[in-house]
Symmetry: C2
DNA sequence: GCTTTTTACTTAAACGTTTAAGTGAATAAA
DNA sequence: TTTATTCACTTAAACGTTTAAGTAAAAAGC
């Protein structure tokens, strides 16, 4: 049994085979100037002795880490977890490693995290910007330092690089039109604080749809909640329901669905009879909520996947120009009970 | 403006200050043999010139990566995403980086991932084992190679190291007792395929509770679904509902809740009147499902946090012996509509 | 006033790879 | 046969840190 679990390095492997480390290194990287016979011998010995090249030595010498960073606001949200699945599905295949960082939507954290990346720790960056980020100098600086960045979902227009987003304006527009079509006359947008592209786009889409429907949006129709699930959101929405008495709600983030449902229950409003609700969310429980929830479902997995593909495409050979790549994947309005008059019909509409 | 974004290394910084790299290195690591005045000068210059030490050079030289790996089966599950939040809350503070790997419950992937860690890429490992893992040689080998491991949620008894789990046996036992108390006489366990500790413990707890309640569990009361959300699960559960006609279900994984609700709907069974349901899940939508779902809620965040704390405790000074640390955090049975006779009372019971 | 200790540095080796440049033998070209 | 080329390696430098060992000057001890 060759169960030598003591760590073996390239030198030891070389000595064992009576070869130089250069030969070992080249053999393992399948260099053309090593004979096939030697390559086989080396690979076999490496396998047998359980040799794995030291990542830090390789990284130092070759100036590449085979590692990317995923920087996202939070993880307890099905959009982001599905997106990570998408990212992982391509990173894993490409033998890349993925570091994960949560900004909790804080600009300071985001800046501190990005600043670290000057250390050469990562070859590239997949990110969804924090909602509190206004100043983008930290991102620009990293980019100037030569680290390629691909934005997904929440992009940052000031930084000229690739982005993979979904059509937030249209999604919000169509979702709002749907509410109007279902008879709503006093629709509110429940969203989160922050300066993020997607929330602005959703707000715009909402506003335009109202105008197109002959409804003038009032300032009182906009509610800003903290961007994480909390009792405060429930209270804010509850108060809003009491004061403004909307008959329709468009929720821009997943965690607001639970908050809105609970608030409606507290205020004794029946969904969809008294108030109809649409939410941007990917949660799989949407069809089994009480009532089932009409959602704007985003292509989370595909967005993560595409973003990762763009980054790896760039990293493997710099053929593509990242600043020219802007993918917009369609979201889907999935109509369910929370917006139907009768509360149990289901259908799918492609946006 | 010192906006020199070209990468600066320690040598350049040393030259700029007319000092040796040794002095810079020591100053930045706050070594006792550098004067306070010099330290201040160095720190100031490093800040000003935007110097960040090369992670790969430091890693190579010092034999530590300041990086840990998180190896989990999947991420689109609130338990795991909340656990990652917990891990991140301590890793971020300790200036550690976290690599994330998904096994998708495949032993082969898990083994391949762990094998890579011999490369020195990580200082330690936080993991929840794949459900298809039977042979644990890959884990043992890594441990023998000197990489500390802390299991969370799904541990692996064969490997003598720390674990942070929740009391799955008791949770399942109590959940099952609750179903019996609510009048169920023919209760089925809907679980997933695999050999994982927690599922075995949940099954045992279920079985024992039935026996304690004078009910003999039949083989037909056990349904094994694939461990990811899929139509197949819905079909399997639907068939089971038709054939065995249970009046109570204990679901061992989050994604089964949606599947079970949809299956019940398809088969035209009313929850909780025809069938009562309890599910192991942390999803925040549980209270707004139709009907609200009685859950076994696990301390996911705390488990991630504790696991990370144990690992960092060990890494920072090897005072603790990992193999002696076994935390068991309590889960909570949260009773809701899916198990109440009247369908809308709520209460909390500590397990 | 001489020795010892302390202070605040510097020198240089080492970490484990990768790779440009070099080499000697075999083969091909002339 | 001589020269050029190819093949299959080896040598050694380099990547950017950390740190053990060394040092010269200042401070302390006697």
């Amino acid at each position: 049994m060759d169960d030598d679990t003591q760590k073996i390095n390239m030198k030891a492997l070389a000595k064992a085979l009576n070869l130089s480390t250069a030969t070992i290194s080249k053999a393992l990287r399948d260099s053309y100037d090593i004979s096939e016979a030697t390559k086989i011998k080396v690979r076999e010995a490496a396998e047998r002795l359980n040799y794995v090249a030291n990542a830090y030595a390789s990284g130092l010498r070759s100036h590449q880490s085979n590692t990317i960073a995923i920087v996202i606001p939070e993880i307890a949200d099905s959009f982001f977890s599905q997106a990570i699945n998408g990212i992982e599905s391509v990173a894993g295949n490409k033998k890349y490693h993925a570091l994960i960082y949560l900004t909790h939507d804080s600009y300071e954290r985001e800046a501190a995290i990005l600043n670290e990346f000057t250390s050469g720790r990562v070859d590239g960056l997949l990110m969804s910007v924090a909602s509190s980020t206004l100043d983008t100098a930290h991102i620009g600086k990293l980019q100037k330092a030569g680290i390629p960045i691909v934005f997904f979902d929440r992009d940052c227009r000031q930084i000229p690089t690739a982005s993979v987003t979904t059509d937030d304006f249209n999604s919000a527009y169509n979702a709002t039109c749907h509410l109007i079509k279902q008879g709503c006359k006093n629709i509110s947008l429940i969203t989160v604080q922050g300066h993020v592209s997607i929330f602005l786009a959703r707000k715009d889409g909402f506003r335009r749809a109202l105008e197109a429907g002959g409804i003038t949006p009032l300032p009182s129709n906009f509610v800003y909640c903290p961007n994480k699930y909390s009792d405060e959101s429930i209270k804010l929405i509850g108060n809003h329901l009491n004061e403004v008495q909307p008959d329709g709600l468009l929720l821009t983030v997943e965690h607001l669905s639970t908050a809105a449902y609970l608030a409606a229950e507290e205020v004794k409003l029946s969904i969809p009879n008294d108030i109809k609700i649409v939410c941007f969310t990917n949660q799989i429980t949407a069809p089994v909520l009480n009532p089932s929830l009409t959602t704007v479902q985003q292509p989370a997995f595909a967005m993560g996947q595409k973003a990762a593909e763009l980054l790896f495409e760039y990293l493997s050979h710099k053929y593509i120009q990242l600043e020219k790549e802007h993918l917009v994947l369609p979201s889907m309005l999935v109509v369910r009970g929370s917006t139907s008059p009768t509360s149990d019909n289901k259908k799918l509409t492609q946006l």
